[in-house]
Symmetry: C2
Subunit: 332 residues, 2 copies
C-alpha cells in the first residue's frame, strides 16, 4: 500500500549537529553546529538533547515567515524512553502535538503522518522534528560512555543532532510525492551491535513494495537513500535486494550513515545511526542538492530497529521497520 | 484547531482485561478476561503485556469480517520504553505499522491519525491498539511490586488490559465526528503520585478548545469522558473548568479511571490509569451504550502524562496532554 500526495510541499528545514558531525563531510550543509562539548551548556545529556531539539524548531521558525502561532501541528519523536526529548520540547510551544516512535525511522513516520494531515486539508502546515544524542543514547541503550565498553566494527555511532522540517500546502519547489509505510520485520537477528543486518530486510521489503506499487524501476529515482544501515548493512541491502527481489539498486543507492561521517577517518565504526542521522542528511545535503536540481527524484528510506533493552535482556530478537518517502523537485 | 471527519466509522472493537478489571463494575462488558494471574502463561510481565495486545488484535479480526490481509494500517502505542509491546506485537502481523506515544492519551492520538488517513481516502481501514499492564508499568515507572512501596491516596492504579478498534470508511452506526489535538501543558507539578492534578489542566485546555472551535456548550454531549484523572483529578477538572473557563461540566462529565473500578471497594487508590484504562472503558461500556442509543454524542478525552523516570529523577516537572475525539451515533 503506497500513498500518493497531491499538495504537500517542503517549505523549509533546519539542521543542528554536534562535534562528530561537524567534523564530517557535511559540515558546510548544517545550519548550526555545537563543537565545544556534548552538553551545550546543559547539566545532563538528556537536557542537552532537549535543547538541540528546541533549537532546531526555533531556527526553523526563524528561517521561515511562519510564527509559532501559525503552525497547526507539531509531530516529533526520538530515542529517549517515553520520547522524553520530544515531550519536554513540546511543552515549550503552544502547538497541538502528536508524539511518535519508530526508532530511527521516526522522521519518515512523521513526514507520512504530516503529509496525510496536509493533503487531506485537515491542517495547512506541520512541523516534523526528531533528535538523537550520542551519549544519552549510549547511556540508555548500552552503557555510559565512561565505562569504555568496546564494540565491534559492525556497530554504528549514534548521531548527535536535531532536524526539523516544515511541510505546507503552499507550493514550493520540492514536494512529497508518495510514501510507503513499513511493516515490522523480524528475521530473528539478536546482535545489537549489527543494526545494519537487523534493518536491511525491513528496508528491502519497503523499497520493493514501493517500487512495485508505483510500477517503477530503481532507476526512476536519482537516489535511493536508507537511514542508518552503515557500511556493512549497505552491502547487505544491495545483495538482499538482488537475491530476494532480483532488483539491482547498486548504481543509485546510498546510506545516510555512511554519508554523514567519513567512516575511513572518523572513529565511528560502521557509520552513523539514530533518528537524527537520516534527518540531518536528508534535510541539509539532500534538500540542497534538490534545490540545485542535481537530484530531482529521491526516495528516502529511514530505517529503525524497534527493540528495547528490556526485550533484549529477555533474549528477544530485534524487529525493524523502514518507511519510504518520495521527494520530488516540482517542475515549473 | 479542531478537525472534522465525514466518513470515518467504528466497525468493531475488542477489549481484554486482567483480574482487577474483571473484579470491577464493567466485567460483563469486556470481551475476555484473564483472572488467574498477571502472567497469562508468559514468563515476564513484558511478554504478558505483548500477549494481551496480540490477543486483542486477533479477537478484533475474529469479531469482524476482515482478515489480516484486508487491514491497510496498524497504529499502536503503549507505556513500555520504546513502545516495546506495540513493536513486538506488530512483528506478528503483515500490516504497515505506525508506532505512537502520548502516554495514556495514546488511544485518542491513534484514533485521530487513523481517522485522518481514512477520511482522506489514503486507506480504507485501520486498526488502532493500545495496552497497559499493572506490574510491568510499576516495574518500569516506580518500583517492582514486590518491594511493597507505599503510595498516597492520590496515586492511580495502572489498568491491565488491551483494547483494539477497527475504523473503516464503510458506514456503521457510530462515527468519528471530530477531534481536537492536545497541546503539551506543564503547570510545574512534580508529584508523580498525583497524575490527576498533573493532567487536569491539559484536559481542560483541550475540552475548552474543542467546545469553542465547534461552537458547542458542554451539554451538546451526552457525556464528556476523560481518560484517567481518578477521583481527585476529576474534581480538580470540574473546578478548573469553572474557574478558568467559566464552563460547568459537572452534570455530564465522568472519568474512565473512576468507572473501570469501584474505588470505594477495590484496592486501587484514586482509580485506574494507563492507556488501556480509557480504551477499555470507551471500547466496551461506552460503545455498548451508544449501540443501545442510551448515549448518542460522547466526547472522549484520554489524558496522558508525558514524563519519563529519567526526567523525573533530574527534578523536572511533568508535562501532560489530552486529545478529544467526538463519537456520534449515526441517525438513519
Amino acid at each position: 500500500m503506497t500513498i500518493t500526495y497531491k499538495n504537500v510541499y517542503i517549505n523549509n528545514a533546519s539542521t543542528i549537529a554536534g562535534i562528530y558531525e561537524a567534523n564530517g563531510p557535511l559540515k558546510e550543509y548544517f545550519d548550526k553546529t555545537y563543537t565545544k562539548d556534548l552538553y551545550f551548556g546543559e547539566t545532563s545529556w538528556e537536557h542537552a538533547e532537549i535543547k538541540l531539539l528546541k533549537d532546531s524548531i526555533d531556527l526553523l521558525l526563524k528561517k521561515t515567515k511562519f510564527k509559532e502561532t501559525d503552525i497547526n501541528l507539531l509531530i516529533s519523536g526520538d530515542l529517549q524512553n517515553q520520547i522524553a526529548s520530544s515531550d519536554y520540547m513540546a511543552r515549550e510551544y503552544n502547538i497541538p502535538f502528536l508524539g511518535i516512535y519508530n526508532a530511527c525511522a521516526t522522521s519518515s513516520e512523521g513526514l507520512i503522518i504530516a503529509s496525510t494531515f496536509i493533503d487531506s486539508k485537515k491542517v495547512n502546515n506541520c512541523i516534523v522534528s526528531t533528535v538523537s544524542h550520542n551519549t544519552s543514547a549510549e547511556k540508555q541503550y548500552r552503557n555510559p560512555v565512561e565505562y569504555g565498553t568496546p564494540k565491534p566494527e559492525t556497530a554504528t555511532f549514534t548521531v548527535t543532532g536535531a532536524a526539523s522540517i516544515l511541510l505546507t500546502n503552499e507550493k514550493t519547489n520540492i514536494r512529497i510525492e508518495s510514501a510507503t509505510i513499513g511493516k515490522t520485520i523480524d528475521k530473528g537477528t539478536k546482535d545489537v551491535n549489527h543494526m545494519g543486518a537487523v534493518m536491511a530486510p525491513a528496508a528491502a521489503d519497503t523499497i520493493y513494495r514501493h517500487l512495485t506499487d508505483m510500477n517503477r524501476n530503481p532507476d526512476y529515482y536519482d537516489l535511493i537513500l536508507t537511514g542508518d544501515l552503515g557500511k556493512y548493512g549497505k552491502n547487505i541491502l544491495i545483495n538482499y535486494m538482488k537475491e530476494v527481489y532480483n532488483l539491482d539498486i547498486s548504481s543509485n543507492y546510498d546510506d545516510c550513515g555512511t554519508i554523514i561521517y567519513d567512516t575511513d577517518k572518523q572513529p565511528v565504526l560502521a557509520g552513523g545511526s539514530g533518528p537524527a542521522c537520516s534527518a540531518l542528511v536528508n534535510y541539509s545535503y539532500i534538500l540542497t542538492k534538490m534545490h540545485e536540481k542535481k537530484l530531482k527524484k529521491v526516495l528516502i528510506v529511514p530505517t529503525g530497529a524497534l527493540f528495547s533493552p528490556t526485550m533484549y535482556f529477555q533474549k528477544e530478537s530485534l524487529p525493524a521497520i523502514a518507511h519510504a518517502v518520495s521527494l520530488e523537485v516540482v517542475e515549473k
